[in-house]
């Protein structure tokens, strides 16, 4: 392989001749067009520029890109370019590259934004996001009204499938997490309560914590990661594929068709899962309590039963329904707000999970304060 070279000859009468030689392959060492570009800008300006390529070997994009840079500079400086001397293929490629002029205003100019500007944009985006969430919730409420009156268009088989996905298929993970949470609570309880001879109250600790708070919260977080993310990804992908638009053009309300059945599935399944999660937690706690404390199964069971009041059970159930609604709203809203690319689907899914978990924790705090004030 011979080294690529670029030589500029001033052949007098203001004519420039550029000779190309050697192998011009991308990735090998190529001469810089810099000196040629400088000469094109110097005065006295040459009238024309021509090429000779007698000693040119192999070439590829490496050559064409240099020729294009030279051609562009020459044209900008009002120098006539005689492309005859270029190798045939390269001549055609250069012509092709300049065939479509750059569209006016197409090129992006990046300006660096100041701190205040970026901060302001974030705030505005936050306000806009909150507004969208409110609008979405409003639409959902209207849609739920139609759903309950039997006026919404949706597929019954979809609802069954959502119930299956959000309910039965979540059993294993809910079992595992709640069982382990119950065991952890019991461990901590036994270690601390034993110190003053109140070990049996571990049963109270585990049962009350699971029934009132933990089961609903843990199930909610599992659902945010499992079902909320799935909702956002499903609806988001449908948006990218214009499936949502297809529904709208058929006169179907996308909220009725896609969102409400999903929200309904979570509202139905969350309390069931939470009750089941409580039982698993109590069972896990009992295993630890009975094996570590000097109590019988009957004693532990009696202690558990008398510690759990019906109020706590309903309180927990109500919370689980609230979390279910929040997770479904976060998932579906992010899906419906999804942009038009694979990247956007990923972002929506992430946002759905984060938003779901934040909403769960915030509402848990608020509900707990309300419960205490109501004496539940």
């Amino acid at each position: 392989m011979t080294k690529a070279a670029l030589q500029l000859n001033d052949s007098g009468q203001n004519r420039l001749l550029l000779s190309l030689s050697g192998d011009w392959l991308l990735g090998s060492e190529l001469p810089s067009p810099g000196p040629v570009l400088d000469r094109l800008q110097q005065s006295p300006k040459p009238a024309s520029l021509s090429f000779t390529a007698q000693d040119l070997g192999e070439w590829d994009t490496g050559l064409v890109k240099v020729l294009i840079a030279i051609h562009r500079s020459a044209t900008a400086n009002g120098i006539e370019v005689d492309a005859e001397g270029m190798p045939t293929g390269a001549k055609r490629l250069v012509a092709l590259a300049f065939a479509v002029p750059e569209r006016e205003g197409a090129r992006r100019v990046f300006t660096k934004k100041g701190f205040l500007e970026r901060f302001g944009e974030k705030v505005l985006a936050g306000v806009e996001g909150a507004r969208e969430l409110l609008t979405f919730t409003g639409e959902l409420v209207l849609s739920c009204g139609r759903f309950l009156r039997g006026k919404a268009t949706y597929q019954r088989s979809d609802v069954t499938q959502y119930l299956q996905e959000a309910g039965a298929e979540a059993f294993p993970i809910v079992s595992l997490i709640c069982f382990l949470i119950g065991m952890i609570f019991a461990f901590v309880g036994v270690m601390q309560l034993k110190l003053f001879g109140a070990g049996i109250y571990t049963a109270n600790l585990v049962a009350v914590a699971m029934v009132r708070e933990m089961s609903a919260i843990m199930t909610g977080i599992i659902m945010a990661g499992r079902t909320g993310a799935a909702y956002a990804a499903q609806i988001g992908t449908m948006k990218v594929n214009e499936e949502v638009d297809a529904l709208t053009t058929l006169g179907m309300n996308p909220t009725d068709f896609l969102v409400t059945p999903r929200v309904f599935a979570l509202i139905v399944m969350m309390p069931l899962l939470a009750v089941y999660g409580s039982l698993m937690g109590i069972f896990g706690g009992a295993l630890v309590g009975i094996s570590m404390l000097d109590v019988t199964i009957a004693q532990y069971w009696a202690q558990t039963l008398q510690s759990v009041h019906l109020n706590s059970v309903f309180g927990g159930l109500f919370k689980s329904i609230v979390y279910g609604i929040l997770v479904a709203i976060a998932g579906c809203q992010q899906g419906m707000a999804c942009g038009n690319s694979a990247l956007a689907v990923g972002q929506s899914t992430t946002k759905a999970v984060v938003m779901g978990i934040v909403l769960i924790v915030v509402s848990a705090a608020i509900l707990t304060v309300i419960y205490i004030n109501l004496g539940i």
Binding site: L26, T61, G89, R92, L96, A97, P101, E102, A106
Partner: protein, 252 residues
Amino acid sequence: MNNAQPHITAENLTMAYGDFLIQKDLKFTVSRGDIFIIMGGSGCGKSTLLKIMIGLKSPATGDVFYDQEPFWASSEAQRELTKQKFGTLFQSGALWSSMTLAENIGLALQQYTDLGPAEIREVAAYKLMLVGLAGFEDYYPNEISGGMKKRAGLARAMALDPDILFFDEPSAGLDPISAKLLDDLILELRESLGTTVVIVTHELASIFAIGNNSVFLDPVTKTQLATGNPNELRDSHPNFEVRNFLQRGEAA
């Protein structure tokens, strides 16, 4: 460049999904610099053949030869090397949506060449100029129209100066003028770069305008009915199905 030299050869190629036979006994030769059309009715396995040729799906039996070298019978590493000489334009562009057009084109260059970031950007800009998208380097795929996505996909396919360009339904979803411009572009690129082009299509206008070699796949007999220049097949092929397809169902 020797035009008579076979560039791609298929030998007794049979393709199937599991037990479901798609096409059997395919046999054709593509010369260097040909524009080779894979045609046939819907569902005859055109796209599957393309997948086998670009290494996405393995054939049931038989093999494809590039420059007389077997493709599927060679080692995985060898196949990767062969594949670097391919450029593929997928049906809807298949641009990576998280990257700008310049980054889409630059990825292969970054991976397979020693070029620095500035040079990669320069090459990307040049490839975009070739397809008529000068100045669109910093756009994301979802910000441009369908026809522009196709052309950007073509620019990406050409990133590594491929020996062979594969197109899956290049004119699908384009208006007749854009489709014609894309055809012209393909012809122009073949002329100036000497690239061999393989196109899956059933657009008759494109087939006659740019194709100089072809294979006709039939979904009923599950094998090829004809191979050769589509213009000649239309006028004088003995098989009625082939003539009928190429004459839009108006063959006598």
